[in-house]
Amino acid sequence: MLTKDRLSAFVEALMRRYRVFAPVRRAEELRFEALSSADEAVLDYRNTLKAPKGILLPQTECLIRFQRPLDQFNAVDAVPLEAAPTVILGVRPCDARSFLMLDRVFCQGKYTDPYYKARREATWIISLACDHPRPTCFCHAFESGPYDSAGADILMREAGDAYLLQAVSDRGAQLLEGLNLPAADVAHLAQAEEIEAQARARLREVTPVKGIEEGLDHLFESKVWQEIAEKCIACGTCTYICPECHCFNIEDRVLLSRGERVRSWDACMYSTFTLHASGHNPRPDQASRWRQRVMHKFNYLPRNVGLYGCVGCGRCVLACPVRLDIRQVLQRVREACAAPDRV
């Protein structure tokens, strides 16, 4: 148990041992940043504009540097892998779950991404249960909910004048041990349970997502994609703020004799996405790009790594400049699955 008057001291204790990321206010935006002082951390919040994925997968990252003095091709310098011990504090359960899927893609499959992995292994996630889900939240459509501890090392929950901290993983338990917090008392436990029940009551009714992958198997050639994509203006907003989107681009930037190989976030909504050097693009229109977005998140990923590419945080619903609502897209997909128009 951590009483709220001890919160600053708790964050300071973490900051002595770790680099601590937490939601901070920058102008009107709440965003995850490395804390420079414990008081900057904002835990009384609903969610950040952008997901915290950028801490582990930066939007722009230099992979190697190289030089080409005269006519030689040499001097390739690997960029040292960054692995400062890091705590991400106050992550919402939806975002904590997103790391499970990113881990499977970047660390646990056939290929390992050393850049992501080095950061991931040095990172602890302290999630904060979500007591005021927004009307756009649909985490509970994914067999999850605002108190889901999956993906976190420690789950924090509200208990009136205190937070209750519960170790979820072994490394979370080790971290917690070092902090010497008192055990929770019965009164606070009861209060926490009541708060959780209230939070669950605030959730709106949603249709479970499970099973949608089977319907999508038959929807590749459907006309529904054209219909869904019609109002999309093809910007990268939804993918950039998404906790799960992880497609990237790698380009060499060369200036005179020096260069660097840079990885940066890509977006399946862009006309340049999967554009081949020949000029050919297998996804030549917005309909096929939307098909890719939905298929990747709700068919390929569950089939390939066992998790959906969406956690139901609702960020894209709120930020889309034309209000193309992924929940409505899924509803439309379900209808199309029920009556496929295979052509």
Partner: protein, 315 residues
């Protein structure tokens, strides 16, 4: 939200059923508060879905270049109408192919301003709606005029200048300088101006929402998407973000109609309009030209006259 007046609905339905147009683009209710969503109507009976109120912020002219050569109808506000004129001037559209419902618009609501009044982040605005000249949000009432976008507060053309059918009560255009925000920026030192520019763009992720929401950004392949050569890299580094925004702004000099679609689309709330308005003011002062007002006028930056330059050595 308000359904369209019956006469307008009947007109649009007639255009569709008579084959005068194959598609009508309007607005319909969205799923989040204070933001309607674009609606694409192909059947006369679907006209019932269309609405008009202060939440209809999207400039639908942005979609027109996608339907080049097709017969399309759409709804335009005063500012959107200038974009139609801009596209006609640049030969992107044929007037005969368009059926336009022009709406007199008192301004559209800025959800960020409403959220600011309530002391909450805009994403936490759970319940809100526009009701006539008021906005009701989380139980509180605000005068619409106090929570419209800055671009609407500076608007001097509330009534469309091009349409087939007009809708709504005419709105009087206020007097006053619509470029006060630009003049305030101009009064700063070069260092201060750069700090302001770079400061705004610190939040830019290069998601291209500004470009993609802009009705005049219709290049088949934008310079930012070219890979051979690569003019701008796809990253959030300051040099890329600043270069992209400068290039986009300059490409819109004398073409930007000041509708503010870019600024409304920006997920980060960046004041892009400030930079674009600087060039609009320059073009107005240097050439006496306002983009989007006269379908027959030649945009100044696409014309060349001998002896026009004040330097002797330029022909």
């Amino acid at each position: 939200m308000n359904a369209l007046p019956q006469t307008i609905r009947e007109t649009i339905a007639r255009w569709l059923s008579a084959g005068e147009i194959e598609l009508f683009i309007g607005w319909e209710a969205g799923t989040i508060p204070l933001r309607a969503t674009p609606a694409f109507i192909r059947k006369a009976e679907e006209v019932e879905r269309l609405i008009w109120d202060a939440t209809c912020e999207n400039n639908l002219v942005n979609f027109l270049p996608k339907y080049k050569g097709k017969k399309v109808g759409l709804m335009v506000k005063g500012c959107d109408a200038r974009a139609v004129v801009g596209l006609l001037q640049e030969g992107q559209m044929i007037r005969e192919n368009l059926r336009i419902v022009g709406v007199s618009c008192p301004g559209v609501v800025d959800p960020r301003k409403v959220a600011r009044r309530l002391g909450i982040p805009v994403e936490d605005l759970d319940e809100a709606q526009a009701e006539g000249d008021e906005v009701v949000a989380n139980g509180q009432r605000f005068l619409l005029a106090e929570v419209i976008y800055d671009v609407c507060a500076d608007c001097r053309q509330h009534n469309p200048n091009i349409y087939d059918v007009a809708m709504g009560e005419e709105v009087a255009d206020p007097a006053g300088d619509p470029f006060a925000h630009v003049r305030a920026m101009e009064a700063l030192s070069a260092e201060e101006r750069w700090a302001r520019f770079a400061g705004e763009l610190q939040r830019c992720n290069l998601c291209y929402a500004c470009r993609n929401a802009c009705p005049l950004c219709y290049c088949n392949v934008c310079f930012a998407d070219r890979t051979m050569p690569r003019w701008v890299y796809q990253s959030d580094r300051p040099e890329d973000v600043q270069f992209y925004q400068i290039m986009r702004t300059f490409h819109l000099a004398g073409r930007c109609v000041g509708c503010g679609a870019c600024t409304r689309a920006c997920p980060q709330g960046i004041n892009l309009r400030l930079f674009l308005d600087k060039l609009r003011l320059d073009v107005q002062e240097l050439y006496g030209y306002v983009a989007g007002t006269d379908p027959n006028a030649k945009p100044p930056l696409t014309t060349y006259r001998e002896k026009e330059d004040y330097n002797d050595f330029v022909l």
